[in-house]
Amino acid sequence: MRLSYPTSIKIIRVPCTGKVDILHIMRSFEKGADGVYVVGCREGDCHYNSGNFRARKRVEQAQQLLDTIGIGGHRVRMCNLSSSDGPLFVKYAQEMHEKILEAGPNPIKLAKKKAKAA
């Protein structure tokens, strides 16, 4: 199965989505990421029982925080799939890619340039 997905996506591997903290998501935006999505196992299938549920909560909190500071919570998403489900992985990647194209670039990138110039 040689499926391709958008080249705009950079994968950061973690042992379990339970490892992903709000801080990782926030830092990604500070560093200029246009969007972040967390791909975990299907709910109920976590090897550590609750890793992907924790990740979902953190994604929700990051969304709220990003909405409050004007970056936009819609740039963050939680996805679940089975690790052998290549086609669904590609589908999520494409959906995220399109969503971000629609949302436009991370406003922080522009703001940083402006603040430097000022």
Binding site: M26, R27, I69, G70, A115
Partner: protein, 222 residues
């Protein structure tokens, strides 16, 4: 532990908006355990603040630091060398830490980043509840280990009051009646005879009513 909850970020932004260089200062003790003011929360708050100000067209210096405790001289001294790099501090320690900071660094504005609530326990992940109000004269020995000062809404000593219904308190249907809990526990201990003893009037002078309190221990004083 002392339980605190995060302040809304909008409120923090409003208090610090005129500063140009800010230190966000966490504490490794109680507020870390109740996930309101530890190193992780410092990182998240600082990151959000930096992005907020950038969006406003301002590159505000927001630095991060977390001390072992903010209620002891020795740890607060650790920032003496760097404090003047900032024109304000947001402390996300409990109110005790914020105040000790303010006492120590007289000319530095210190703002609280959490709301400090009570002394309590972690009942479940993400759920903290009150257990003690530091009344200064503990009576848990006669109440089956359950505190009527902190767990009865009226702080009564010979309860329950007439508002106790089906184990719940009249002030809030979700709230367990502290006196029902005391009775249940005394029953479990086979000590219902204790319940029949009328508690004498409590001396509230050891509580907050007697003004700010102080403990001096000559045996450990230097």
């Amino acid at each position: 532990m002392i339980v605190a909850d995060k302040k809304p970020i909008e409120e923090i932004i409003e208090t610090i908006k005129d500063h140009q260089s800010i230190l966000v200062l966490g504490c490794n003790e109680c507020v870390t355990v109740c996930e309101a003011g530890g190193k992780k929360e410092v990182g998240i708050l600082a990151s959000a603040l930096r992005m907020h100000f950038l969006q406003q067209g301002r590159e505000v210096n927001i630095a991060e630091r977390t001390l072992e405790r903010q209620c002891d001289h020795e740890y607060l001294e650790e920032i003496r060398d760097i404090i003047d790099d900032y024109d304000a501090v947001v402390s996300i320690a409990c109110g005790v830490g914020v105040q000790f900071m303010a006492e120590k660094y007289q000319s530095k504005p210190i703002y609280p980043g959490v709301n400090t609530l009570f002394m309590g326990v972690t009942e479940a992940r993400g759920v903290w509840t009150e257990r003690c109000q530091g009344c200064g004269q503990c009576i848990l020995a006669s109440t089956g280990g359950i505190c009527p000062v902190s767990r009865c809404a009226k702080r009564i000593f010979n309860g329950p009051c007439g508002g106790s219904a089906s184990g719940k308190c009249e002030v809030d249907k979700e709230l367990e009646c502290g006196w029902q809990l005391i009775i249940d526990r005394l029953k479990a201990l086979g000590r219902m005879d204790d319940y029949e003893n009328i508690s004498p009037l409590k001396d509230w002078s050891t509580d907050r009513a007697g003004g700010p309190r102080k403990v001096v221990r000559e045996d450990v004083e230097l």
